[in-house]
């Protein structure tokens, strides 16, 4: 045991950690707390008699306030009928994507201090509206997965589980995970120009799925199989390369690169026909 030495090792941020505790731990620094106005685009399809409208809520900002905290406070104290979706509230499940000041992103990890005092919230466009800020991304994602056959097609559906696993190049595994990090939040589709025009467009999320399986040596499918599901204008050839998907992806997935790569591969398939 030589734990005594621990004290001697210079911790790079000891000074900051001790003296600057307030600023490092309180995400809001020492800013003066503001009065916020949150305007929400409201509509409940179950009550079609009430037309879509903006409704404003006023509340006091708190230190470290996220839109998760703010919206829950509004619902608890001001308006119990306000609909929105949160699950993990940690930026990993993709439930809470909405249009915040005109830009689709995750609400749970959006700190109010990074926004002005007037905040405008709207549901993601394109997806079926459930009510207010809640949209049915789950239904669309399932449909997309079914169309693209978005699951690994195994060589042997009943491998001998007593035996050692098949080996995989560590770098390939990392590359697959890189694309597997998608949380299906729907931001890429909500920001997509093609999706505005083509209701069956598979979106960056769909093309990224296909790219992920194509990269995976465990999947038995060929480019022909992938061409069959994305080789048309609702798939890879519908993309106009506006690349808003790449800009808004909350997980920073390399969507532009993946779409370009898949298009090259699929064009090759088209010429081969």
């Amino acid at each position: 045991m030589n734990d005594v030495t621990i004290k001697i090792i210079p911790a790079p941020t000891t000074v900051k950690a001790g003296a600057g505790a307030q600023s490092t731990a309180g995400p809001n620094g020492d800013a003066i707390l503001r009065k916020l106005t949150i305007s929400v685009l409201r509509y409940n399809p179950q009550e079609p008699s009430v037309a879509p409208h903006m409704q404003s809520y006023h509340l006091e900002e708190a230190v470290g306030m996220t839109l998760f905290i703010a919206l829950n406070e509004i619902r608890e104290k001001q308006d119990p009928s306000l609909q929105f979706d949160f699950v993990c509230r940690a930026g990993i499940c993709g439930s809470c994507a909405m249009v915040i000041n005109g830009r689709p992103t995750l609400a749970c990890r959006t700190l109010t201090k990074n926004l002005g005092t007037e905040i405008t919230l709207a549901p993601l466009p394109f997806f079926e509206l459930i009510g207010d800020l809640s949209v049915n991304t789950g239904k669309w994602m399932r449909g997309m997965s079914e169309r693209l056959r978005g699951w690994l097609h195994m060589k042997d559906p009943n491998p001998d589980l007593k035996r050692m696993e098949e080996r995989m190049d560590p770098e390939v595994a990392e590359k697959i995970y890189e694309l597997d990090r998608c949380i299906e939040c729907g931001c890429c589709v909500a920001a997509c120009g093609t999706a505005r025009m083509r209701k069956d467009f598979v979106g960056a999320v769909g093309m990224n799925r296909v790219a992920r399986f194509r990269l995976d040596p465990r999947d038995t499918r060929s480019d022909q199989d992938y061409y069959d599901v994305i080789g048309d204008d609702d798939g890879i050839f519908g993309c106009m390369s506006l690349l808003a998907c790449d800009d808004v992806c909350p997980k920073d997935l390399p969507l532009a690169t993946q779409i370009a790569f898949m298009r090259r591969k699929m064009v090759k398939m088209a010429w081969a026909k």
């Binding site: 045991m1 621990i6 004290k7 911790a11 790079p12 941020t13 900051k16 950690a17 001790g18 505790a21 307030q22 490092t24 731990a25 309180g26 995400p27 620094g29 409940n44 179950q46 230190v63 470290g64 119990p80 009928s81 306000l82 949160f86 699950v87 509230r89 940690a90 930026g91 990993i92 499940c93 993709g94 439930s95 990890r109 700190l111 459930i130 789950g138 239904k139 399932r142 997965s145 978005g150 699951w151 690994l152 195994m154 491998p159 589980l161 007593k162 035996r163 050692m164 696993e165 098949e166 080996r167 995989m168 560590p170 595994a173 990392e174 995970y177 597997d180 990090r181 949380i183 465990r218």
Partner: protein, 663 residues
């Protein structure tokens, strides 16, 4: 009246529920999943660090096997676990990881040759074997003797859930998203399905099934400060409890995770410490070795969380405007490692704290994290009291975690239990005598009863505020049923929770719409959550000892004479305000590993006179069988093989333990 029929009704679309449904479907039974949210958004996705399975591929895992995993798990549980179930689990875990590897999980893989790691605050070079190249890698985690935790960067749960959910889609398993079971249909000790509310339209529908399985996760949200997702409200457990027939086991066993960011309670993985991160106090002093010289930061979670709170109580916490906390320092791991293997941690610190963990320390404090208790089942996953009701994963008390779960054993349990229990569900559905013939009048009665409850809330004249009751419940649980527990506080908690339960029967709503209505949802859920909270608080009050995560300051010793038993909670009458408790003894005479010191934490406990007898028996047997294989010895000590479904029996191959060429 709308009735949906299926063979297997699975409540919950996380890892356990998905694997249950896939298993049942593979055996030819129709399975249908109910889920509050799209399955890929389930709380399983939040498991960051990894899944324990004794593959022994990395050099620091060499020598690992089922025996070592078994001992770690039983010690972690503070001898509260069912040791036969632990054996079933550790033998199936490697098969589960390998199955997931075949199904698509991009497990992080071993690179042969030298690599630098941080162990005990020091940079060390280790050399991976050529034979391990490309096999699944393992990292270190708390409470384990070997590096055993298989991982996908720090998005393990996410990657597992993606694959599992994809395979469920591939198997054409229907998932009814945004639906919520609000009551189980049962008669004469047999479960027949559930009454289900559509969260979009508000419609109630009856789902009738041969077998019903609860896989709805934990109950973290009965606490104010928790790492759990907002959907983890213990409703599945409450449904079982409300039958008055099924029981909940060990609800007082609640785990607090050492490192959640302060004050938001968002988890940063145990992998931070497993990979070499250190806990530091206000002075920048690494304090864990002072308390736990053996395992330091990597003692079990209950022990580390208690030591942290103890250290804060000594005035060693750092302070910010929200209160006191400690620091997690991962700067020594380096930018490359943090941005690749701890990437979610990097994002969480960045977005929620404005902290760059490559350079800065992370403010952390323990928060509620895991519900060891749940629907009590036997080894097949079925309720011993309510036929046709099964449970798996965090919602269950199977019971492999006892009073403290090891990191990496929860996602492992979801999949392993999903595999094993689905086979038993399929066996159950195969038996002709389990076909059901309930009259629709019975189904209708349940539907009418539940509709009446909803109507009362919507049309009644109640005056209590649902959100206020929920918030008060959460505050009481966090303040009085937390890491350190005392009789007086627990009694006060039980008293107040009972008052809140009475109040919750008089809730009035502002919003009376029948469709999507968040206030209505809070109203009916809080009535159920309070029952679960009461099982926790009352169980904790009654258990006058300290075991695992249940720590009584007024009874600080583990008491194997009085308390080597599992708490069972029943809810007998609908108007009751307290559960009825019963206890199920654990048989030392049948244990493979009799109680002792865990290897970390308190060394002081009250020994049961049966313990030395059993220890002597075991020592004797070991002497007699000197030279026998570890398999033969294990078989002699505590046979369990026949408890596993035939398809999951058998040894696991390792680099150092090749299987014979012919089976």
């Amino acid at each position: 009246m709308k009735i949906v029929y299926t063979d297997v009704l699975v409540i919950g679309g996380g890892l356990a529920g998905l694997r249950l449904a896939i298993g049942a479907k593979r055996r030819g039974h129709e399975a249908l999943i109910l889920s509050l949210v799209p399955p890929k958004r389930s709380h399983s996705a939040a498991a960051q660090g990894g899944m324990q399975a004794s593959l022994a591929n990395v050099i620091k895992g060499q020598g690992d096997n089922e025996d070592v995993h078994f001992e770690d798990t039983v010690r972690g549980s503070d001898w509260g676990a069912d040791q036969k179930v632990v054996r079933m689990f550790v033998n199936t875990a490697p098969k589960a990881v390998r199955e997931l590897a075949a199904w698509g999980v991009p497990w992080s893989r071993v690179r042969k040759g030298d690599r630098q790691v941080v162990i005990n605050g020091q940079k060390v070079t280790i050399t991976e074997r050529d034979a391990a190249q490309g096999l699944i890698a393992q990292r270190d985690f708390g409470g384990t003797k070997k590096w055993r935790t298989c991982y996908v960067s720090d998005g393990t749960g996410h990657a597992m859930l993606q694959t599992m959910s994809d395979q469920a889609i591939g198997a054409a398993i229907p998932v009814h998203e945004r639906t919520e079971a609000i009551a189980l249909i049962h008669d004469a000790g047999r479960c027949y399905g559930a009454i289900v509310r559509n969260l979009i339209t508000g419609e109630l529908v009856a789902y009738v099934a041969k077998a019903t399985a609860i896989a709805s996760g934990g109950a973290g949200r009965v606490y104010r400060v928790t790492s759990n997702a907002v959907i983890c409200e213990g409703i599945g457990s409450a449904l079982a409890l409300e039958t008055g027939i099924a029981t909940l086991g060990n609800m007082e066993a609640v785990q607090f995770h050492p490192t959640t960011i302060f004050p938001a309670g968002i988890l940063v993985t145990e992998g931070c410490r497993g990979d070499g991160g250190l806990l530091k106090d206000v002075d920048g002093h690494r304090f864990m070795p002072d308390y736990e010289p053996e395992k330091k930061e990597l003692a079990s979670r209950d022990v580390v969380s208690r030591r942290m709170e103890e250290h804060i109580a000594k005035g060693k916490g750092a302070k910010n405007r929200f209160g006191e906390h400690l620091w997690l320092d991962i700067t020594l791991l380096g930018e490359q490692h943090i941005k690749h293997s701890l990437r979610e941690v990097y994002e969480i610190c960045n977005y929620f704290l404005g902290v760059d963990p490559v350079k800065d320390w992370i403010p952390v404090r323990p928060a509620q994290h895991y519900t060891m208790g749940g629907v009590r089942t036997n080894h097949t996953g079925e309720s011993p009291t309510l036929k046709g009701l099964f449970a798996a994963g965090e919602a269950s008390c199977w019971d492999m975690h006892g009073f403290n779960r090891l990191g990496g054993n929860s996602v492992a349990e979801t999949v392993v239990a999903g595999m094993i229990v689905s086979e038993y569900i399929a066996d159950f559905c195969d038996r002709i005598e389990n076909d059901i013939d309930i009259p629709t009048s019975l189904v209708h009665e349940f539907l009418r009863r539940e509709q009446a409850k909803v109507d009362t809330l919507l049309g009644g004249h109640g005056t209590e505020d649902a959100s206020a009751i929920k918030a008060r419940m959460q505050d009481v649980m966090t303040a009085k049923v937390g890491i350190f527990r005392r009789g007086a506080d627990l009694q006060a908690a039980v008293d107040e929770l009972q008052q809140l339960l009475v109040k919750s029967r008089n809730i009035g709503l502002h919003d009376r719409s029948r469709g999507a209505n968040p206030e209505l949802v809070t109203a009916y859920r809080v009535q159920k959550m309070l029952k679960v909270a009461l099982c926790i608080a009352y169980g904790a009050l009654t258990r006058t000892e300290s075991r695992g995560a249940h720590y009584r300051q007024d009874f600080p010793r583990r008491d194997d004479v009085e308390w080597l038993k599992r708490t069972l909670a029943f809810w007998k009458g609908e108007g009751d305000t307290l559960p009825s408790l019963a206890w199920e003894a654990l048989d030392i005479g049948a244990m493979e590993l009799p109680p002792g010191w865990r290897g970390y934490g308190a060394k002081d406990y009250i020994d049961n006179p049966e313990t030395p007898k059993r220890a002597a028996e075991i020592a004797d047997l070991k002497t007699k069988m000197n030279g026998a294989s570890r398999f033969a010895l294990q078989q002699a000590l505590m046979p369990y093989d026949e408890l596993l479904p035939a398809s999951f029996r058998g040894r696991n191959e390792r680099i150092d333990e090749p299987l014979e060429a012919t089976p």
